[in-house]
C-alpha cells in the first residue's frame, strides 16, 4: 500500500462521484473567481489613479477658492470672497518657491465648425499650463504672452474635439465658433486617452484664461490656480507661503477659517486613495459574500454525501482497510478537489478580470493578496467539509458505518 495507490483510490472516488465533485468544485471556483475579479477591479482603478497622479509630478499645488473638507465637501463661508487675477499675480510675484502658475477657469460651451457641432469643456489657462501638466502639443503651437495679455480669440483643441469638428481634415489656422465667437485654432493636443474614472481627457479646448474671463464669461473670479513649485521639497514651503499670502490678501482674521484650499498632490493622492480603498473594500465584500455562498454550497453537498460515503467507509473497513488509510484517502480527495477548484477559480478570475478591462475599458489589477485569501478560504472550507465527516465516519465501528442511514 503506497501513496500512489492511495492517490489513485482518491481520484477514482472523485471520478465516480462526478456530479458531486463538479458541484463542490463549482462552489470553490465561483468563490475564488469572484473575489479575484472584483478585487482586481478596485485595485486596478486605484493603481491607475495613483499612476496618473504621480505622473503629474510631485511638485504641483492646487489652489482653489472655497474650502473643501475631505473629498469635495464645501465649507460654509468663502464663496463670496473668491480668488481673483490679482491673487494669482501676487502668488507669482511674491513667492520664491513658485516656478510657474496658471489660472484654471472652467466652463462648458457649444463649439461649431461648418456644419459640425460639439459641446465640450473650455479650459481657460495661460501659456504655462502645458508645462505644468506636462501635456504635449502634437501640431501647431502653444499660447504666447501676447495671446494672454490681449485676451486673443485663439484656442488649442483636444484630440477628441479636433476629430469631431474636422473629421480628419486640417484644423490648424481654421476659425471655429465658440459660443458664437470666432476663435482661431493654433494647436492640437496629443491624445491622453481616458483617465482612471473613464473620462475622456481629450474632450476639451484650451483658451487663454483672459479670453474666458472677459469674452466668454464676464467674470473676475478665478475658481482655481495650478502652481508648480521649483522642486518637490519646495512644494511644502510654497504651500505654506501661498496660504499665508492669501489669508493676508483676503483679510482673514486669526479665528476665521480659510476660504480657499491649497493642496499638494500627495494630499490629492491620499483622498483618491481613500475613495478607491472604499470601492475595493465594497467590491471585495460583494465577492466575499459569493465566497461564503460557495462555501455553504460545498458544505451542503459534502454533508448530503455523508450517508453514502459513511457506508462506503464501513465497506472499506470491512474489506480490510484500516481507518488511517481511509482518512488519508478522504483527505487526498478533499485536497485534490479543492486545489483543482482553486486553480480553475484563479484562472477564471484572472480571465474575467482581463475580460472586464477589455470590454468595459476599465483598468484591473489582480492582487496577490486576494488570490491567496480566496484560495485559502475556499480550500479550507473544501478540505474541512470533505475530510471532517470522513474522519468521523472512519472512527466509527465498521458495522455502525455500514448500517448508517
Amino acid at each position: 500500500m503506497n501513496a500512489w495507490m492511495l492517490l489513485r483510490i482518491a481520484l477514482k472516488a472523485l471520478v465516480r462521484n462526478k456530479v458531486r465533485t463538479l458541484l463542490t468544485m463549482l462552489g470553490i471556483i465561483i468563490g475564488v473567481a469572484a473575489v479575484i475579479a472584483m478585487v482586481s477591479l478596485g485595485e486596478g482603478a486605484r493603481r491607475q489613479v495613483q499612476n496618473e497622479i504621480s505622473s503629474m509630478g510631485t511638485n504641483i499645488l492646487f489652489v482653489q477658492s472655497g474650502s473643501f473638507r475631505g473629498f469635495g465637501v464645501h465649507g460654509g463661508a468663502g464663496t463670496s470672497a473668491s480668488l481673483t487675477e490679482e491673487d494669482y499675480l501676487a502668488i507669482l510675484r511674491e513667492i520664491a518657491a513658485v516656478k510657474a502658475a496658471t489660472p484654471d477657469v472652467n466652463t462648458r460651451g457649444q463649439v461649431v465648425f461648418g456644419n459640425q457641432n460639439w459641446n465640450t469643456q473650455l479650459e481657460g489657462v495661460n501659456e504655462y499650463f502645458l508645462t505644468i501638466r506636462s501635456w504635449m502639443i502634437s501640431a501647431g503651437e502653444n499660447f504666447n504672452e501676447s495671446h494672454i495679455q490681449n485676451a486673443s480669440r485663439v484656442c488649442i483643441l483636444g484630440k477628441t474635439v479636433a476629430d469631431n469638428l474636422f473629421q480628419g481634415g486640417e484644423s490648424l489656422g481654421q476659425s471655429i465658433r465658440i459660443r458664437n465667437l470666432p476663435f482661431q485654432v493654433i494647436g492640437v493636443l496629443q491624445s491622453k486617452g481616458q483617465n482612471a474614472f473613464g473620462r475622456d481627457q481629450d474632450d476639451l479646448i484650451l483658451v487663454p484664461y483672459t479670453t474666458v474671463m472677459k469674452k466668454l464669461q464676464q467674470t473676475r473670479n478665478i475658481p482655481s490656480i495650478l502652481v508648480s513649485a521649483i522642486s518637490a521639497e519646495a512644494a511644502y514651503t510654497a504651500e505654506a507661503e501661498i496660504r499665508e499670502l492669501l489669508r493676508q490678501r483676503l483679510r482673514l482674521g486669526d479665528e476665521e477659517e480659510d476660504t480657499f484650499t491649497v493642496r499638494n498632490l500627495s494630499e490629492v493622492a491620499g483622498a483618491a486613495e481613500e475613495t478607491n480603498r472604499i470601492m475595493t473594500l465594497l467590491l471585495g465584500s460583494i465577492a466575499a459574500v459569493s465566497l461564503l455562498v460557495g462555501g455553504i454550497g460545498i458544505m451542503n453537498i459534502m454533508l448530503v454525501a455523508v450517508t453514502e460515503r459513511t457506508r462506503e467507509i464501513g465497506l472499506r473497513l470491512a474489506i480490510g482497510a484500516h481507518a488511517v488509510l481511509i482518512r488519508i484517502q478522504f483527505l487526498l480527495e478533499a485536497v485534490v478537489l479543492s486545489l483543482t477548484g482553486g486553480a480553475i477559480g484563479i484562472a477564471l478570475g484572472i480571465g474575467a478580470s482581463h475580460l472586464i478591462s477589455r470590454i468595459l475599458q476599465w483598468p484591473t489589477a489582480v492582487s496577490p493578496a486576494s488570490v491567496l485569501l480566496s484560495v485559502l478560504t475556499s480550500v479550507a472550507i473544501g478540505i474541512f467539509f470533505g475530510f471532517y465527516p470522513a474522519h468521523k465516519a472512519s472512527s466509527l465501528n465498521p458495522i455502525e458505518a455500514l448500517r448508517h442511514e
Binding site: 500500500m1 465516480r16 465497506l315 472499506r316 470491512a318 474489506i319 480490510g320 484500516h322 465501528n397 465498521p398
Partner: protein, 237 residues
Amino acid sequence: MDSPLIQLFGIEKSYPAGEDAFFALKGIDLIITRADFVAVMGPSGSGKSTLLNILGLLDFPTGGRYLLEGADVSALRKKEQALLRSRKIGFVFQSFNLLARTSVEENVELPLLYTALSRQERAHRVDWALQLMGMQDKRRNWPSQLSGGQQQRVAIARALVNHPSIILADEPTGNLDSKTSAEIMNFLQKLNEERAITVVLVTHEHDIAAYSKRWIVLSDGLIVEQFSRNGSSEAAP
C-alpha cells in the same frame, strides 16, 4: 493437526443500557474447524449478527477469548484487526454493499487495493474470482445494471478475491427470491466443497440453512442448540 480455525470461549458482548448493561451475547463457546459450513439461526434479536461481526473482527467482544487459527485476536489493535480482515476474512452482506457507479471488476478489486499485490497479480485475482462466480461477461457493468442475484455474486467474488480462509455471510439471500437464493447457496456450497473455504452463514430460513453442514441456534445471546449433518445433535452445554 494444527489448531481449529476458530475457537470461542465464553464470548460476551454487552452494550451500556442506563445503569446496567444489556448483553447481546452472554457467553458463547464455539469451535469451527476448517472447511466447515455453519448456519447460525435463531429469532430476531438473538445476537446472530453480533456473533458474526465478532467472528469477522468488525466488532470486539466485551468478554471471553477468541482464537483465530490459534492466535488470540480478542485484544488486537484496530490496524492489526484490519490486516487480519484483509488476509483471512471475506464478508457477504444482505444488502450487497457494492460501490455505486463503479464497475464490477473495480468493485471486486477493491480489497486488493489495500494489499501490496502488483497490478498483474490483482488483475489475475479479479479474473479468477469473477470466473468462479460466472460474472466475467458483466465485468464492465455497473452494479445498478445487474440483478440482485448477480450483485450478490459480485459481492461474493469480492469476498473471495483475497483468498480468505473464511467467508462470513449475514443473511446473504435476505433480499433475493427463492430461485436466486438457491443459486447463491449453490455457489457458497461449491466454494466450501471444492475450495475448502469455511463458510459461516446467518439465516432465518430453513431451506437456506439446509445447505450447511452444521447448525447452531441462538436465543437471547446463548447457543441453545447445535446439530450436524451426520446426525449428532447436542444441546448447549
